[in-house]
Amino acid sequence: MIRGKEQQPFRISEGGEIERTRPLSFSFDGKSYTGYEGDTLASALLANGIKLVGRSFKYHRPRGIYSAGPEEPNALVNLRSGGRQEPNTRATQIELFAGLEAESQNRWPSLALDVMGVNDLASRFLFAGFYYKTFMGMPGWHFYEHFIRKAAGMGTAEHVSDPDLYDKMHGHADIVVVGAGPAGLAAALTAGRSGARVFLIDENDKPGGRLRSERETIDGKPAMDWAASTLAELEEMENATILRRATAFGYYDGDTIAVLERISDHLPVPAPFQVRQRRWLIHAKKVLLATGSTERPLVFDGNDRPGVMLAGAARTYANRFAVRPGKHAVVFANNDDGYRTALDLAEAGIEVRGVIDPRTGGQGPLKEDVIAQGIDVVRGAVVVRTHGYLGLAGVDIADLGTLQSGTTPETRFIPCDLLATGGGWSPNVHLYSHQSGKPVYDSAIAAFVPGESRMNDRSIGAARGRFSLGDCLADGYTAGQETAEALGFTTGAVTDIPSTDEQATGPLKILWQVPALPGRKGRRFVDLQDDVTADDIKLAQSEGYVSVEHLKRYTTLGMGTDQGKTSNINGHGVLAEARGLDVSEVGTTTFRPPYTPVAIGAFAGREIGRHQNPVRRTPMHDWHLAHGAQMVEAGLWMRPQYYLGKDEPNSREAMFKAIERETLAVRNSAGISDVSTLGKIDIQGPDAAELLNRVYINGWKTLAVGKARYGVMLREDGVALDDGTTSRIGENHYYMTTTTAEAGPVMEHLELHLQVHWPDLDVKVASVSDEWAAMAIAGPNSRAILQDLFPQVDLSNEGFPFMGVREAKLGAFPARIFRISFSGELAYEIAVPAGYGEAAWERCLAVGEAHGLVPYGLEALNILRIEKGHVTVAEIDGRVSAADLGFGKMMSSKKRFIGDALVTRDGMDDPSRPTLVGLTPVDGKTRIRAGSILVEDPKTPPPVPKLGHVSSTAPVSPNVGHPISLGLLKDGPNRIGDTVWAVFPLKGEAVHVKVTSPNVYDVEGARLHG
């Protein structure tokens, strides 16, 4: 691997978790490099000496790799290309694969020479609230907005659709353990041994957590040996499920944990049929949050320069990836991790030129080890400034006490290309916070720890501020045992908590910011991703933004793809100092899901394209498709809109021709329409008529067997719910139909009342909507067609009157015939069991051909019913009363029914309420758009009084010769013959319309009887 070595000048010759026998080539900004299997993109870039990886959000300052995990604020890259392109991906979490392509973001024309870097020079104008103060409220904001949006933002999204599969899965667990570091592994192990169903979720490719990054031992052996044997035992357990590359991104009600499992993200391309990402919802009885902690940066002048890195990340690169993140390092930390880092970096062959420790004393024994190695330890000192431009060239250090006293201290320059900084660790309380947990401030670690739990969760290990390995293991073993026992599982005493050999550590020194050198205007970044400095926070505070939530919105502190993982606590610390308060008094902002960004695809899963919603098909669906039907969505159903002739191309003209053809056929000969979508409810029992009497506004006690009746239902509040016909098909047996749209709600309405309010009624209801295929045959020739279909049935007006119902055989098929009409023509509905629907439909058409029978779609059906003034869901829209629709007289005064009390309240019986009317264009030709507002005069200066609206519209009505509409108009019955205007401001339309009766065709109803 000599070639690989040459190409990876910062790779340590041995150690680490990488597979040196498996080199992988990849490209960054078009240039090829080599890394190893086991690398992340970040570690591979560092191995190749690449330190500049991006430009910052606002100032376009050069930025490098800052962390080694999900908290990364800087190293966001555009991964892959085409439909698989993924912007804002954290290089620290991208597992290297062969052929990986990544590009830096937010720079033009190149990373090294970015013209927007001019923002950095202009930074004294781009202070907190700059855009609000400068542009908002100014004339022409929309003009500026375009340029501001172009200059801001991070990556850009691709417009090509993603070719990969995303799906969803449910999981169920007794105990979910989030995080497979030492605490999580130990907890999962003891819980798993009890037999409890355990899910262990970890965001990395393999468990271990921080153990992978440190040189610690457990029971005298490398800590990862313990992790490996623990994992092996867990893998053998049938009751344990381990999700790798899986981020628990949300904690929701009912102890539901949302997880994103990245199944194929580490592969160049998923295998055929392999899922790329899977979003889990895991329903848990107990949740153990072993989510670890995140290291805080230190805030000082120039702390964003490429080469400045979190100390823990520097250890990760050296220990886990065998990469030197620099050649000459300075370590600057306010706690003993600084010494641990110095030792690890020295061990990795990096020359450590000093450990800068703001504390004057109180350090633990590691300090002595560092000194013993000949490394310079400077106590009571801080880094006050960094040098370099595209990369770190050195740091200035100075005495903290002098600086804090306000005098200019002497500074000392130390040349270096790596500055490892650490300000202590903050527990990852995100998931705890998602379920309304309120974190509490712990001054000993200068961070927030979980407070009381609102659900069945318990935070363990570093996630509750127990940072030592021994504490993490003890916490894990104990929590696993106690949690399993709380659920009734038996664990036995835990005796095998392994031993560790950590050194004691001294307390950290709280240092929210290193004061600026007197007279120097350098930038001390708190939030690297959002370019928020300590001075921005101070400015915001001085302008009155003293709440952490206001501070966040005003300065953008803690926003962006990292949601302030490294910046929040420091920001709140700086704010607290500015306000002269303790951090516990200013509090922290609320963490909300997701923990890290989740692709929209993982939320959509396979509910894309025609599976975005379930599609319902009638029994005649395939026939419609095979016979020129243009289908349209009606709720979840697909219904024929109109039928084109064989080989007739679809066009607007063809559509209008088809609609006209179908409409005329129904009026002149006969048409057949698929009405299987109507809701159908079977009602049985001695109290069936009583139920109908209570739910419909009209009376039902007198309906004879073999007869149907039209009825209207109200909601409890008196508003119209639905209409339809119900037939009495036996002594105690009724068949109710509802509109297509309200089939479900009406069924619920009946069930609710029967189960909750009227359990005394002896009646049962069952949905039979799917049992019956239904077809309406309408038109003057319909009786002749029915006679051919049912030669055994007397179809005369006397033998089978209007609203009559019969059971008969259609050939061999059992059928129900209803003489009801929606079109105003002589018409029948035939229902057959659904499996015979298509055959029955074909038989009707075959028999009807001689009588001019043609299929008609929804458009024709709509025109026919608008001509008759019949209402649908467009009128029964949840705002109208029965009286508004002209059914006021139907409301029985001889009985009680649902809605009868509230229908008389003020406003509901106001005679000037908008009521149903017909509308025709005064010029006899202009179409009226549905949804238009009815006004007296469109030229009235606003606000224009609204008189009503257009509910349904027929763009053509071949039977009356001009477009017609239905609408609801104030004081409607008294305005018939007047003219008003139908206006549609969005389209700039105003149509002068004449008010008519809703029924404009065959007003006497003579056609109904043939």
């Binding site: 599969l165 999981g171 379930p614 098909r617 049992e771 499996g835 038989r843």
Partner: protein, 202 residues
Amino acid sequence: MADTVILARRSALAGVLQPGDHGANRFDGPGIHLTERTPFSVVQVEARAEAIPSLIGALESDTSTAPSLTPNQSAGIGQPRILGTGTGKWLVVEPETRDLAGHLRSVLPDSVAVTDLSHARTILRLSGRDARTLLAKGCSIDMHPSEFLIDTSRMTGLFHAAALIDCRSAEPVFDIYVHRSYAVHLFESLLDGALEHGCRVS
């Protein structure tokens, strides 16, 4: 007119259910088997609380299968299979050989509501080693073998369609009852979710 129509049902899945192996070619064979059970008689019987004992007695004496009084429990090996779907409510299911609804009306007390749903339901049989995983993709109830036992049947949402899932065997084998109008949607969703496991449709 001569009656030439053969009284055969058209499956809601006609033209959609394509027999054969679909999806990933697994070395250990397809993880999912999917087929339609048709034609079946599906009849709902329902009684008020006071009539439940007489309903159960009559049903048991007619079918030699005792309907379970425990909610979400099925009984019978299939001639018929009786699934409890609610308080005092069962589905009686058998391969179609007779007018089951008519027969039940004749043998059950008059107070029992008998509703024929034979054409309202499509029955899919789902089996194979990955069947539980496939159900977990579209259904939020716990399909673990220790929870969803043989003879458990539950009305639930499956890929956004209302479905009654009946566990017939621990192998596992499930019968899924779905409303006919949703059958194509559910079949396509199941097949789609099964592709990564390999799916044999028969």
